[in-house]
């Protein structure tokens, strides 16, 4: 068996090379099919690997609670809110919470100024616990302390993008910046986190939560976000249930009313992303299998032509002792090699394409091909070769020697 395979491979290679251009054109369908699979897979894999990393740095055991107003309610001017009282309630009553922090967003993007430079940035009021919950650590200076909140100190911790945008020195600690018309002293610089899906994670300005509240005054009834991380052996679903019960009770919701808040886990967000990515992969996979089918038919077609062209040769081989399986193996292996060749070219092309796309879009995660995609692509193109090669090969093998020899 091995001997037959070896000899068939030898002669298949000779005949593929003899028709270089034709062989290449024949495999084009497979090339395009495999190239698009690999390009898409390498992009989505790179993306989901990146998303996975980002979320785990977010802390996979953290929860975010936000107010939620359905569109219909918003139209009627109703706005759901999470209040500092809700925060206190959770702090006091919920079990399994390791640390908890409010986040109070400044009204839209606020102006940030240092000397003559200004930029716009989202200002967030929070507490010392934010550091643990969102895994944001300072590289220089210190983080917001509890005392900063108690005394409503006008201090700020900034991200590296804000420093760069404002033209602050490398070490911005002890400089003063103007936030929404008030002067704040920079006490810390956060570690650089890089981009996430095209958004800089370093464009961030943190101030003490209490300072933020006092600055906003009674201007609006505050709507805060609550981030919390779970203690070691707490169960996410259990804590979610507790929070839901506490908040529904606090908000006086009757059993037939929907929640006016949402609780997100990092994992949920990640799963949503994964689902989207898997959908995209599936749809593309469908398109690609059609193109592989077309590619396979192309190979079958050219193999049938090749069998007809080489009828006399087949007759000669039979006259000098070739058995059916010799002829079958020769043509089948030729078809498999053709489509594997297409698969390999497609693999290289697809990877190149993926790498080119990911590097041309700024902040797009680098492309990566998992081993399973390579195995699948080559396995699938080999399978296409067998599937569409078997008919022409059987046709060749079953030729009658004398008829084949007489063929003009």
């Amino acid at each position: 068996m091995f001997y037959v395979m070896l000899e068939s491979t030898r002669s298949a290679l000779i005949s593929i090379l003899a028709h270089g251009l034709r062989s290449f054109l024949t495999t084009l369908g497979i090339v395009i099919g495999v190239a698009s699979v690999i390009a898409v897979v390498s992009l989505t894999q790179g993306m989901s690997a990146f998303i996975g990393e980002s979320f785990s740095s977010l802390g996979s055991n953290s929860l975010t609670v936000q107010s939620y107003t359905p569109i219909a309610e918003q139209m009627r001017g109703v706005r759901a809110r999470l209040t500092p009282e809700d925060l206190e309630l959770i702090e006091r009553r919920a079990e399994g919470v390791a640390s908890i922090t409010p986040i109070l967003y400044g009204s839209s993007a606020s102006q940030v100024r240092y000397a003559a430079q200004t930029t716009f940035s989202q200002i967030m009021g929070t507490t010392y616990a934010y550091r643990e919950v969102s895994q944001s650590y300072v590289q220089l200076g210190r983080f917001i302390a509890e005392s900063d909140n108690l005394t409503r100190r006008r201090v700020t911790v900034i991200g590296s993008k804000v420093r760069d945008d404002l033209g602050l020195p490398e070490n911005p600690v002890n400089k003063y910046v103007e936030l929404g018309g008030e002067w704040f002293k920079v006490i810390g610089l956060l570690e650089t986190k890089g981009d996430f899906m095209g958004f800089s994670q370093d464009d961030i300005v943190l101030v003490p939560y209490a300072t933020m509240r006092s600055l906003q005054g009674n201007q609006a009834r505050t709507d805060i976000q609550i981030q919390l991380s779970l203690s070691e052996n707490a169960d996410v679903e259990d804590v979610t249930r507790q929070l839901t019960a506490l908040l529904r009770n606090a908000h006086d919701l009757s059993p037939d009313e929907d929640d006016d808040f949402v609780i997100n886990t990092a994992e949920q967000l990640m799963n949503t992303f994964d689902t989207v990515i898997n959908m995209v992969t599936l749809v593309i996979g469908g398109i690609v299998s059609i193109s592989l089918l077309v590619g396979g038919i192309g190979i079958m077609n050219i193999m049938l032509v090749s069998v007809t062209e080489r009828t006399r040769e087949i007759g000669i081989c039979k006259a000098i002792g070739a058995k059916r399986h010799h002829i079958l193996a020769q043509f089948l292996i030729e078809a498999i090699l053709l489509s594997l060749l297409g698969g390999l070219i497609g693999l290289a092309l697809g990877f190149g394409l993926g790498a080119a796309i990911s590097s041309s879009i700024e902040s797009f995660p680098p492309a990566s091909i998992p081993l399973w995609a390579i195995v699948l692509a080559l396995g699938f193109s080999g399978f296409v070769g067998i599937l569409f090669g078997i008919l022409p090969a059987a046709k060749a093998a079953n030729l009658d020697p004398i008829d084949a020899l007489r063929y003009e």
Binding site: E7, E313, I316, A319, A322, K323, L405
Partner: protein, 231 residues
């Protein structure tokens, strides 16, 4: 027992409503180391007869024993085996593989015998040397003259050391000088003990053989030993 024994061999072709009797009840025996020419006018059934001898075609009726084997009872694979081991076939139009060089063509029958590359190469080189083409081994068929192509074909037929060599008008496409060279090669092979059967319609060619069988309308018309005829 004779190397080849055919009894009542017929080959009929149905052409629409017409039945063509290409061979009609032919009985022949051929012994080892015979040198036989089958002659006859065009359409008399010579090629059909040789194709049946070479197991390329099956007779419609009759029995064929080759080297003790009852050919009618063999299946596809066994016939392929016989074509590979017992028979060396030489065609009027050479029938070389166009994409393989001389050496490759001569090695090809050995591929079907699971012989390793080096030994194949050795045996093929030896066969090409035998036909005087050791310096043309890496030429493709279209880089060789007609006579050289036929020598490659003969080398390919010889390389398996077959029991019989069959040649259908081996010199039909060659000029007279090259024909003589090829016939000289055949004579030598016969002298070395090879059994040779050829089909021709040229007197000069048939004269090389020890026995001349004449076909007419698919039947044996005359069968004579040339030595007897010469006396």
């Amino acid at each position: 027992m004779a190397l080849i024994r055919l009894s009542g061999i017929s080959r009929h072709y149905e052409m629409g409503s017409q039945l063509v009797r290409a061979l009609d009840e032919v009985d022949v025996e051929i012994e080892r180391n015979e040198y036989v020419a089958f002659v006859g006018s065009s359409g008399s059934g010579k090629s059909t007869f040789l194709n049946i001898l070479g197991c390329l075609e099956r007779p419609t009726l009759g029995q064929y024993y080759l080297n003790g084997a009852h050919v009618e009872e063999l299946d596809h694979n066994q016939l392929a085996e016989i074509r590979n081991r017992e028979i060396g076939f030489i065609f009027q139009s050479f029938n070389l593989l166009p994409r393989a060089n001389a050496l490759g063509n001569v090695m090809q029958p050995l591929v079907y015998r699971r012989i390793g590359y080096r030994q194949r190469r050795e045996m093929a080189t030896e066969a090409l040397r035998r036909v005087g083409l050791e310096d043309r081994m890496d030429h493709l068929p279209n880089q060789l003259s007609g006579g050289q192509r036929q020598r490659v074909a003969i080398a390919r037929a010889l390389v398996t050391r077959p029991a019989i060599l069959l040649a259908d008008e081996p010199t039909g496409n060659l000029d007279s000088r090259t024909s003589t060279e090829i016939m000289y090669l055949f004579d030598q092979l016969h002298a070395e003990g090879q059994t040779l059967i050829l089909v021709t319609h040229e007197e000069d060619i048939a004269r090389h053989c020890g026995r001349i069988v004449e076909l007419k309308d698919g039947r044996i018309f005359r069968d004579r030993q040339r030595t007897e005829a010469a006396h």
